[in-house]
């Protein structure tokens, strides 16, 4: 029902909390389709490679690193430095994969599975 997902794609649900959605077209929820496999850096010298769905030997299964790169390229509507830092995200943003802190799952190296849910939040201070 999410429409347009190919056999070689993963469907990933993304949610933002604590004001972060302001950076993503003010939408707290997004569904993105990501190729299951991505060319490994060694196989491509292009600094911003367009991933393909081919399963060549030097491709790797899509990881959180690929998702964040994909998000910056496709759904980030405001300035990147408010969200990202290097390959990852800015310190102070909590990243959750299927309701677990992503450090429990391997952070950037986590291999995404179809229907994974990824949440980005910042803390609250009121009381």
């Amino acid at each position: 029902k999410a429409g347009g997902k190919g056999e070689d794609e993963l469907e990933i649900r993304i949610e933002f909390g604590g004001g972060l959605h302001l950076l993503f077209s003010q939408q707290p929820r997004h569904t993105v389709h990501l190729p299951r496999h991505t060319p490994s850096p060694a196989a491509s010298s292009d600094p911003s490679p367009e991933p393909t769905a081919s399963e060549a030997a030097d491709n790797h299964p899509a990881t959180m690193r690929d998702l964040i790169r994909h998000m910056k390229r496709t759904i980030l509507s405001e300035r990147e430095e408010m969200f990202g830092e290097g390959d990852g995200v800015r310190p102070g943003i909590l990243v959750l994969i299927n309701d677990a802190d992503w450090e429990l799952e391997g952070e950037l190296e986590y291999e995404l599975k179809d229907r994974d849910e990824v949440v980005f939040i910042s803390t609250l201070h009121g009381g």
Binding site: G17, G18, G19, L20, L22, L23, E78, M82, R90, P91, G92, I93, L94, L96, D99, A100, D101, E103, L104, V119, I121, S122, T123, L124, H125, G126, G127
Partner: protein, 295 residues
């Protein structure tokens, strides 16, 4: 013939009658729960807890801890009861507007349960006095609304080696978790939130808050405190994220273990008992807010 008088006559917890008959009657409905019983009720009675903040989060925390029979509760709040807060600070009354909030909360708690002892404190907790004021507590409960105090209470709990139950609420969102325990199985507040994101420090005075959001978060925090005292806390460290009007209403998150890089609880921690040296003002105030996104 008040309950306190009875208490004085009978003497506390003699070995053959560790609770008074009136306490058995009062606590019976919870003592029959699995994992509770007489030993659990005695743990609650013997416990001493510090609750910092008697506002929107503190009111339900104090109410349910008093109801459950937590023996000694230090309440810290230097603020006074204000009519503008009564929509969410439901332990206070209109008659007590102007009274110190810790005093007002203590009065309400005694009226609910005369078998517990609340200790109201009206002096502010500062980097200078935090360790001295909190040393007696076996759990610290953060119901405050300022980032500075949140990091101070976290650092104090690390230095004192006691768990921190920390919650927050603003607008329609709330969150709470248990941080930092004796066995160092849990991350401290700084491990999870090493840096303040500018703009995330909005206060209820400016942004507003739903009373039921502070209510649900505070009640959840009281549950964490009771589970910690009974010794049946969650086996995995969990963070609860509440968002009124969203599906799911509450998201339960598995937290990571303590961070080896943490400046409060890591192996190379730089924060010591000299909390005055931490520089909370600079840490919390030195963030520039982006005008466009408010972050």
């Amino acid at each position: 013939m008040s309950a306190q008088n009875d208490n004085a006559e009978a003497g506390p917890s003699s070995p053959h009658r560790p609770l008074k008959l009136e306490e058995y009657e009062r606590y019976g409905r919870q003592m029959i729960l699995p994992g509770w019983g007489l030993p659990g009720q005695l743990k609650l009675k013997a416990a001493r807890i510090a609750v910092v903040g008697a506002g929107g989060l503190g009111c339900p925390v104090l109410q349910y801890l008093a109801g459950a029979g937590v023996g000694t509760i230090d309440i810290f709040d230097h603020d006074t009861v204000s009519a503008s807060n009564l929509h969410r600070q439901v332990l206070h009354t209109t008659e007590r507007v102007g009274m110190n909030k810790a005093e007002s909360a203590a009065a309400a708690m005694t009226a609910l349960n005369p078998f517990i002892t609340p200790h109201p404190h009206s002096e502010p907790i500062t980097p200078n006095n935090a360790l001295a004021l909190l040393r007696a507590a076996e759990i610290i409960v953060d119901c405050t609304d300022r980032p500075l105090t949140r990091y101070l209470l976290s650092d104090a709990s690390v230095r004192l080696g006691v768990p921190l139950v920390s919650g927050a609420a603003i607008s329609s969102a709330g969150q709470w978790a248990v941080y930092d325990d004796k066995g160092k199985r849990r991350a401290c507040y700084r491990c999870i939130w090493p840096q303040i994101i500018p703009g995330s420090s909005g206060r209820c005075e400016d942004v507003g808050v739903w009373g039921v959001v502070t209510g649900m978060a505070g009640t959840g925090m009281a549950g964490e405190v009771i589970k910690l005292i009974l010794g049946n806390e969650d086996q995995q460290p969990l963070l609860h994220l509440l968002h009124l009007g969203q599906n799911p209403l509450i998201r339960t998150i598995r937290l990571k273990p303590p961070s080896p890089k943490c400046i409060a609880c890591g192996p190379n921690a730089t924060i010591t008992d000299d909390l005055d040296a931490v520089g909370y003002e600079a840490f919390c105030g030195g963030v520039e807010v982006d005008e466009e996104t408010g972050m």
